[in-house]
């Protein structure tokens, strides 16, 4: 097992390097010159050249990359073109905001989705199942900008019981209640999607499992229904569920772009959009790097969990 982990981590390094090279190329291939954004209309040629040099854009492309890589190894992600702040200084608060939102979304989604998925599979094609699949279909298909704006309109503007955006009341005393109130609406919007998605996975894999021979055997043996369901059924459904979770988490870490925009959530997604618009290469590279690391990391975790839940899988 330990050997396996070390091997996986070692494989990760060249993969990450490839990812950074590709990202660097793609980011730099984007048309448009960032310098244009950081000079005034009446800037002289000399000022433009100076700005280009100060952003490091006057160097040949491979030199820029290796400089970036060298800095990265020293834990320096460079300066944001837009705000001139070191990217590492800004990163923690952005990650924190996104992780808060991600965590509450995933907890809410899975707490609702897993039981509902099981119920849905058990009552397959019954009224309850139709209701659950119907609502989850709605949850997947409703565009989140629309759902978000509708919630803001109803709860923020008309009822006035929840804040319309942000992570906390600025100038207020903070407090956890205030933060939770700010979390409610974005969590609902995101959870509507993730929850619906998960319900469908759980339902499908449970239906498969219910038709397995070992389930019939367990029933024939006269085991209690609860034991059949949890001990034989759900346990076998964990593998596909873990797969979904391990792809959900990095997807969210990359930032829930639309939702963060609508609710002015100061997370990675919002930051990424403004970085794209501002051609803020160092910020984009940092975000890409985090997304790549989290995908690789959670894939590894998923592989390890497979072994934990399914004894047939060994490394």
């Amino acid at each position: 097992m330990g050997k396996y982990i070390v091997k996986r981590i070692l494989i990760t390094i060249p993969v990450l390097l490839m990812v950074t090279v590709f990202c660097f190329i793609i980011v730099n291939l984007a048309p448009g010159d960032p310098t244009d954004l950081y000079i005034s209309e009446n800037a002289t040629e000399q000022q433009i050249a100076q700005m280009r040099a100060s952003l490091g854009l006057d160097q040949p492309f491979p030199v820029q990359y290796f400089k970036w890589l060298l800095n990265l190894i020293q834990g320096n992600l460079g300066f944001s073109f837009a705000s001139r702040m070191p990217v590492v200084d800004v990163l923690p608060s952005k990650i924190w905001a996104t992780v808060t939102l991600m965590f509450s979304t995933l907890v809410v989604s899975y707490l609702i989705a897993i039981p509902l998925g099981i119920i849905s599979a058990r009552k397959q094609n019954g009224f309850v199942d139709n209701m659950i699949t119907g609502v989850s279909f709605l949850g997947i298909s409703i565009p989140n900008f629309f759902f978000g704006l509708a919630l803001i309109y109803i709860f923020g503007l008309q009822l006035g019981i929840l804040p319309t955006g942000g992570m906390e009341t600025l100038g207020g005393n903070g407090g956890w209640l205030d933060r939770i109130q700010h979390l409610v609406l974005p969590t609902i919007v995101l959870a509507a999607f993730y929850c619906s998605n998960m319900i469908r996975y759980v339902r499908a894999s449970m239906i498969d499992i219910f038709s397995e021979n070992y389930m019939r055997t367990a029933t024939a043996k006269g085991l209690k229904e609860k034991l059949i369901l949890w001990g034989h059924g759900v346990r076998n459904a964990w593998v596909p569920i873990i797969t979904v979770i391990s792809t959900d988490i990095p997807k969210m870490l990359g930032g829930a772009i639309v939702t963060e925009q609508i609710f002015q959530w100061p997370g990675i997604g919002q930051w990424m959009i403004s970085a794209i618009n501002a051609r803020d290469y160092p910020v984009l590279m940092a975000i890409n790097l985090i997304a790549a690391v989290s995908v690789l990391f959670f894939n590894l975790i998923a592989d390890l969990l497979y072994a934990a839940v399914d004894p047939r899988i060994r490394y």
């Binding site: 005034s40 509708a150 503007l157 600025l170 100038g171 618009n277």
Partner: protein, 550 residues
């Protein structure tokens, strides 16, 4: 299949409910909707019980807080709250003393600046003539990244870039007499208003004792530029949460008196959110001026909201259809100007909240000449001109359209239609803003829509001169060069007005590009706020220390 029908019904009912709720409120802005806002909507106004905190909505994030290097209007606006300028400009080209008590000249070449006595930085150090001189020296220092080079380039001893000549290590045109007095000398006599705006109003005075702790070349990326610790104006910096908000607090040593509103939060939100935040009381005011812009489609809703003050004024923000002069001669360009129905654009897209540009100035400028009338929409005249020009009208013309400004994107379709009516063959090519700007800058376009924020000083050398760095239309015309030169070097306001009138007429007749419209500035703010932005947006902050909330 019964279950499928049930499902479809269920979905339709749910959608119906949401649509009903949204549509219902949207239409009835002045009845139930605002009625509700009056009551419970206020609950989440975070300032419910704090009358000394101001919440401002911005639609762009600031690019740092460097008094020497601020290309974006947001940063410039916030810097005005943090650093003193020598002069205030409550109305366009009307100057008042600020840090400078007086700013006088007898020969339009030597300007004596006397600072007010007793002014202090927030750390208690006095603000002196040395700070002013040091700031100008930093701007002129070739190692320093700055946006103000051109502003000070008229001073003696500086090149046209505003940097000092090789071998020099100071600005010959700046002489400190004593702690409170300095003399600025220009290379040639200039219009006092020019120097008052360019240096007196636009250049922020930086604290020498802080700035000199850094190597000049490192200032732009230092804490001095990102998290300033010492302020000399109305507020001092507390915190910037990137792309989310800027927090400021009153500067107790401010020379005009400590601000009434002790805390300021400048929140970065998008246009749609700005509307909801204004309605819910989450922000007290929109920053306006192109940096806190409410979408034109929401203007009616806000104007009808009982809790909000709404006004609109002509401003300095403009949209042009730039024409690549290297590809189209004057007749063809003029044909385009005749072909475009700018009145329809202003009416349909802005519901009258914009003005047609007669040439290249808005009516907010004191140099705007109302006698130079805009060229009317006349398709026949456009066709005639096009025929006379011998232009092959079957040739496909690409209209470059940047995304990000809804009204501009919509105007593109109207423009395309208008041009086709006149016989042009136009296709739209859409890019994100940065790409579009880069293409237009490189001359890699035929016609393209780009917005330009104009200044109150009328000099537009940067836009229409061959040497201008924003000469997007690639103008190369001797007469316009001559007029720009005369305007720039003239020292008398009346004479300048004449020159710029001639320039406007000539520009219009040559149709170097098409001035589409000047967006009006909106003032949208809570009725509880006493103060806020003014008709001349750039001067709005001159009395910010006196703003209060009920």
């Amino acid at each position: 299949m019964v279950s499928f029908k049930k499902l479809a019904l269920l979905i339709m009912i749910l959608f119906g409910m949401v649509f009903f709720l949204v549509a219902c409120g949207g239409g009835s802005d002045d009845t139930e909707a605002t009625g509700d806002n009056d009551g419970e909507g206020e609950e989440f106004a975070p300032d419910g019980d704090e009358d000394d905190t101001l919440y401002v909505g911005l639609t762009n994030a600031p690019g740092g807080f460097n008094p020497l290097n601020a290309p974006d209007t947001v940063a410039q606006w916030i810097l005005r709250m943090l650093y003193p300028t020598l002069l205030e400009q409550p109305e366009s080209l009307t100057f008042e003393g600020n840090l400078a008590e007086s700013f006088e000249t007898e020969d339009n070449q030597n300007f004596t600046v006397t600072l007010r006595s007793g002014a202090e930085w927030s750390d208690g150090e006095p603000i002196t003539a040395d700070d002013v001189a040091y700031t100008l020296e930093l701007i002129a220092n070739p190692d320093v990244e700055t946006t103000w080079g051109v502003n000070i380039s008229s001073l003696e001893g500086l090149q046209s870039t505003g940097k000092w000549e090789d071998g020099a290590d100071g600005v010959a045109g700046v002489e400190v007499i004593d702690e409170q007095t300095l003399i600025l000398t220009t290379k040639t006599p200039v219009d006092p208003n020019y120097i008052k705006e360019m240096i007196g109003f636009n250049v922020y005075i930086a604290p020498k004792h802080i700035a000199e702790q850094y190597e000049p070349a490192e200032l732009a990326n230092s804490e001095f530029a990102t998290t300033p610790s010492v302020s000399g104006s109305i507020y001092q910096f507390v915190e910037y949460e990137t792309d989310s908000y800027v927090q400021l607090e009153a500067n107790p040593t401010y020379y005009k008196g400590e601000a009434q509103l002790k805390n300021v939060y400048l929140r970065v939100v998008n246009g749609t959110n700005l509307v909801t935040e204004l309605q819910s009381g989450g922000v007290d005011m929109a920053a306006g001026g192109g940096i806190g812009v409410v979408p034109v489609t929401e203007v009616d809703t806000l104007a009808n909201d009982d809790n909000l003050d709404f006004e609109s004024y002509p401003g300095f923000a403009t949209q042009f259809m730039f024409i690549n002069n290297e590809e189209f001669d004057a007749d063809v360009r003029l044909a385009m100007m005749y072909a475009i129905d700018r009145e329809a654009i202003v009416e349909q897209l802005f519901r009258g909240n914009a003005e047609i540009l007669n040439s290249t100035y808005t009516s907010a400028s004191v140099y705007f000449d109302p006698d130079v009338e805009a060229i009317p929409h006349d398709v026949d005249r456009a066709r005639e001109l096009l025929e006379e020009s011998g232009f092959d009208s079957s040739q496909e013309i690409e209209l470059t359209v940047p995304t990000g400004n809804r009204a501009r994107e919509q105007s593109a379709s109207l423009i395309q239609q208008n041009l086709e009516e006149a016989g042009f063959n136009v296709t739209q090519v859409t890019f994100d803003f940065v790409t579009a700007l880069a293409n237009v800058r490189e001359g890699n376009y035929q016609i393209g829509l780009i917005g330009i924020p104009l200044t109150s000083d009328p000099d537009q050398t940067y836009l229409w001169s061959q040497s201008g760095t924003t000469n997007l239309a690639r103008v190369n015309d001797d007469k316009i060069e001559a007029l720009l030169e005369q305007g720039r070097t003239s020292t008398d306001m009346e004479e300048r007005q004449e020159i710029y009138s001639e320039l406007q007429e000539y520009w219009r007749d040559q149709a170097f590009s098409v001035g589409l419209y000047g967006d009006f500035q909106y003032k949208v703010q809570s009725k509880n706020l006493n103060g806020g932005i003014k008709e001349f947006w750039g001067g709005s902050l001159h009395d910010m220390h006196e703003w209060t909330k009920n």
